[in-house]
Every structure is written in structure tokens, then in C-alpha cells.
């Protein structure tokens, strides 16, 4: 440390020293972030207004024509619809299931720790690995799922679950539920543990039934956790790529394409970098608008309860 600041000059130099230190600590992260996050995103916007096949300078300026092409492409519009179905479907399936499992497990029971570990296993597996296993399970004829359905007398679809354009998206959605339900359960369980024990004791003294306790205490107090989880789920669903790529590749008959598979197809397979750029800008705008809307409409109401939680946990720490 420099000698204690003497008069004006000393203070100036210590201010500069501080600035240098800040720069020293922050610059590497900012540089990496600028090069690999900001620059590519800016480039995507730039590419979106050119016709470019991947080589030579950007000269063929086309204005917004790529956007017109993308938005006029039925495959892309369907992709957006598929993404939205997955956003809605994931929440509609995982929220009630996750909540039910979390409420049931939130009690003293044998093997609880083991149960939590098991429920979380699918989440830790790579989406690709989970996808490959499910792809085999869902095979028509020799797949085990058709076998099990046949054993109880049910007829599986002829072209297979992933081969039938009417069923493929639903099948992908179910596999995604299997993969991500564990995350919802773990987060809800954590949220439930934040509910003060006194509330349950008070409810018990008042003669509340188990159902009443869950409905009036657990679920409302879990609100912030559920809303934040839904936000993360939504952002993830909008970016969905790996699972679809493995299970269906967007098929059959483009019935499971997502915005991400569309832009990868355009960018790396067809070398239509301008089209891919426009598609990524649209994907980003959709994600941003949904995030901001969600923030304004849903998450904003948590702000006040947050302050309370933070205060409460502070007290615990100082104890």
C-alpha cells in the first residue's frame, strides 16, 4: 500500500490507483465477453441485412428482405409456434407435476435424500445422451415403450411416436418433461424449506387439514420460486435445440422444428448466413420481449416479498 495520502496529490494518485485496480480486475472478463458474446451478436444483426454465403466481403446489402423472407417462410413461422407450444406445454406439465411431487416429498420420510438424488439424475445427463436413450426406447417395433403398451393391449402409432407428424412434438415435450422435471422438484423443495415452521405449527393448532395447509400456506409462499422457475423454463424452451436435433432433427415433415434448428439449418447447412442472422435476431427479440413482459407482469410482484426474504436470511447469518 502507498503511504497515507498527503494532501491533494496523494489522493489523486490513490484514485488513479483504484481505477487501475478496477481495470485490472474487470478487463479480462469484459474483453472475453465483448469478443465472444457482444461481437457475435452485433455481427448477427449486421449479417441479417446482407445476402452472404459465407465468403467474400459483405457487399450485397438487402435491407430488411431477409426478415421478410424468414417471416414469410412457413417453416420458420411453424418453428415459432412449436417453440411457443413447448414454452406453454413445459410449464403446464412440469408445474403441477413438480409441485405435487415436491409437496408429497416435503415431509419426514425414509430415503428422502436418496429420492432427491434420483429425481435429479435426468437433469444432470446431457440432453444428447438422454435424447439418444429415448430415441431407442421410442423406436417402433423393437422399442420398449411400444412393447409395454402392447402388453397392456394398447396400439402404438404405426410410424412410431417420433415418426408421426401429429404426435412427434408431443413426444418431444414428454421427453423434455422427463428430463427437466427434477429441476422443478428440487427448486420447489428448496422453496418449501424456506417456509417458516411456525406457520405450519399455527395451522396445525387451528386444526387445518393437510390439504388446507398446503393450499393456504405452502403453495402461496412458494409463489416467487415457481415464478422464477417458470421464467428459466421459458428461456430454455425458446432456445431448445439439442433434444429436437437428436430425436427428430426437426422432422417428420418439419413438425418439430424450433427457431434454433431453423437457424442452424440455414446457417451451416445451406450457407444462408443472412437468413440465419435474421432468424437469430427474431429469436432474440422474441426472447427479450417475453422476458420483459414476464418481468413486468409476473415477476415484479415478487420484489417486495424478496426484501423480506433477504432480511430474514441476513438475520440467520449473523446469528
Amino acid at each position: 500500500m502507498t503511504a497515507p495520502a498527503r494532501g491533494g496529490r496523494g489522493r489523486v494518485s490513490s484514485a488513479w490507483r483504484k481505477r487501475l485496480e478496477i481495470a485490472f480486475f474487470v478487463t479480462p472478463a469484459l474483453a472475453l465477453f465483448a469478443l465472444f458474446v457482444v461481437w457475435p451478436i452485433v455481427t448477427a444483426v449486421q449479417l441479417s441485412v446482407f445476402r452472404w454465403k459465407g465468403f467474400g466481403p459483405l457487399t450485397d446489402f438487402v435491407g430488411l428482405r431477409n426478415y421478410v423472407t424468414v417471416l414469410g417462410d412457413d417453416v420458420f413461422v411453424d418453428s415459432v409456434v412449436h417453440n411457443l407450444i413447448i414454452v406453454g406445454g413445459s410449464i403446464a406439465l412440469q408445474l403441477p407435476l413438480g409441485l405435487a411431487i415436491a409437496l408429497l416429498l416435503n415431509r419426514k420420510m425414509w430415503g428422502q435424500g436418496l429420492l432427491r438424488t434420483i429425481i435429479f439424475v435426468p437433469y444432470v445427463l446431457a440432453e444428447v445422451i438422454a435424447g439418444v436413450v429415448w430415441f431407442q426406447l421410442l423406436q417402433p417395433e423393437y422399442g420398449v415403450i411400444d412393447g409395454l403398451l402392447g402388453a397392456v393391449g394398447l396400439q402404438a402409432p404405426e410410424q412410431g411416436w417420433l415418426g408421426d407428424p401429429d404426435l412427434a412434438l408431443l413426444t418431444v415435450l414428454i421427453v423434455l418433461t422427463w428430463k427437466y422435471l427434477g429441476l422443478a422438484v428440487i427448486l420447489f423443495l428448496a422453496g418449501l424449506q424456506g417456509v417458516p415452521e411456525e406457520l405450519y405449527e399455527a395451522a396445525q393448532l387451528d386444526g387445518a387439514s393437510w390439504w388446507q395447509t398446503q393450499r393456504k400456506i405452502s403453495v402461496p409462499l412458494l409463489g416467487p420460486t415457481m415464478r422464477t422457475w417458470a421464467f428459466l423454463s421459458m428461456i430454455g424452451s425458446l432456445q431448445l435445440f439439442d433434444m429436437v436435433w437428436i430425436l427428430t432433427g426437426g422432422g417428420p415433415a418439419n413438425s418439430t422444428t424450433t427457431m434454433a434448428t431453423y437457424l442452424i439449418n440455414q446457417g451451416t447447412r445451406s450457407q444462408n448466413f443472412g437468413i440465419a442472422g435474421a432468424a437469430s435476431v427474431i429469436l432474440f427479440v422474441i426472447a427479450l420481449v417475453m422476458a420483459v413482459l414476464y418481468q413486468q407482469l409476473v415477476l415484479s410482484r415478487d420484489t417486495r416479498s424478496d426484501v423480506v426474504t433477504v432480511k430474514r436470511s441476513r438475520k440467520k447469518v449473523t446469528r
Partner: protein, 299 residues
Amino acid sequence: MSAPTTNVLMSAPTARNTGREPARRRRSNGGSQPLVYAIALVVVALTLGPVLYGVLGGFRTNAQIAQDPSGLPDPWVLDNYVGVLTSASFWQYAVNSAVIAVLTTAITVVLGVMAAYPLARYRFKGREALFMVFVVGLLFPATVAIVPLFILITQNLQLGNTWLGVALPQAAFALPVTVVILRPFLAAIPQELEEAAQLDGTSRIGFFWRVLLPLSGPGMVTVGVLAFVGSWNAYLLPLLLLQSDMKTLPLGVADFSSEHSADTAGVFAFTTLAMIPALVFFLAMQKRIVNGLQGAVKG
């Protein structure tokens, strides 16, 4: 302190996850226990079923699987697993995955903790604006930038098909969540320690090295585990950037599955062996992963 503006991924996760234990006695009024265990068993079966089926399928022959898809191995055969374990490409993929994950983790944690330090403990103009850069970064999915990223790495930087070419962008995209988790963590370290260090004549950089880093170990482990698992499971970026013997395990699994689609038993053996490292790592680090995710979500 963490402003509750965007309350996703904010406010001290450290504080939240410690010191709660005493209140964890759970009531069990109502809801008959046998029913709960029955439901728990169903959940476990549905969760583990596909994974176990894959593991067992690796011990069967394709003829067995074709004859009775839902049967048990009879007799148990080791050929599939032996075949994968003796193939050079499996080990090559595993090494690639491991090196890329370690590089990603190291870059993420080192740069992340450095950036989080002034954001947490210095007072300066533009600090919140700087922090917002990282918060907004959370909203940028790598997918959006994937095509320019591909061009940048393969053409401009000539890092296509290298370990570093995958690790650098992965670390860049992992930085926002790392900084956002670490900042409240570093801010929670008592001010008195810093004052004491200053009285002893330690500079702020010295304080960073000798006090802050050792104390923030748990936080760094949490973000490190998240970065490692993210890299280990990554598919899209490696898919675009890596070819032939530079591929990672997820790419290897996907390739094997499409090239040997008729060899179901082989595919099961390959996927099972590929998932073991992630599972072992998860079991060893379970607390950290769960804490990290919970800290990230509890707003």
C-alpha cells in the same frame, strides 16, 4: 447490494443456503404414508427406468432386444461394453470432453471472480452499469450468436477444431451467471476483515489474494461446477466447431447412435459409459450443484 430490479439470479445465495438446518423438522400430519411411498416409487421408476433400461440393454445382444424389448439380459454379455471401452475413439472423445470442460471451468472461475471483486467491494461510478452488462448477458442465449461465433472462431481466429476454440466462447457465455452468483458472495464477506487487513498494511490486491480468495472457496466451487457440467453436456457449439478426433462425448454419442442405429445394444453401451463421468461428478458434487441452482433461482 443486489438491487431487486431483475430478481432472477440475484441476492446472496450463500446466506440463503446455510443456517437453515435447525428448522428442518418436517411435519407429517395427514396424507397417508403408504400412499406417499407408492407415489414415490412410481416417480423413481419413471425417472430411473429409461436410464436403467439403457444400462441393462448394454448387457444384452441385439437379438435379445429384438426378441423381447422389455426383457432382462439372458445371458449377460459384456461384448458391447468391452467393445466401447477398447475403442480408441471413445477414450479420445472422453479426453476432449475433459480438457474442454477443465479449460472452460478455469477460465470462467478465474475471470469471473476477478470481475466480481470490484463489483462487490469497490465503490466507483458506473459500477451498477457495469454489473448490468453481465445481468443483460444472462438474456443472450448462445444460440442467437452461434453462426457469427462459428465464423469468428473458424475464420478470424483460426481456432476451429481446437480445445481452446470451444472453451473460450463457452467461458464467455458462462461469465454472466458466474459474476451474478459470485458478487453477493464476495459482498457478504465482512467489511471488518478488509479494515483489519488495511490496518495491517495490506493493499486491496493483497486483500483479494490473501483473504478474499481463500474465503470465497465455496462460491467458486459452485460456479465452477455449473461451468463444468454445462461444458461437459454442451452439444451445439462443439457440433459446429469440432470434427473427427477432436469431438467430445456428446458428439460421439450422437454419431455412434446415427451410424450404428441398428446396433441398439452397442448404442446403449456407448451412452451408458458416456453418462458415467457426469453421474459420478454429480454424485460427488451434488450439494454444490443443487445449492448453486437454488441460489440462482431464489430471488
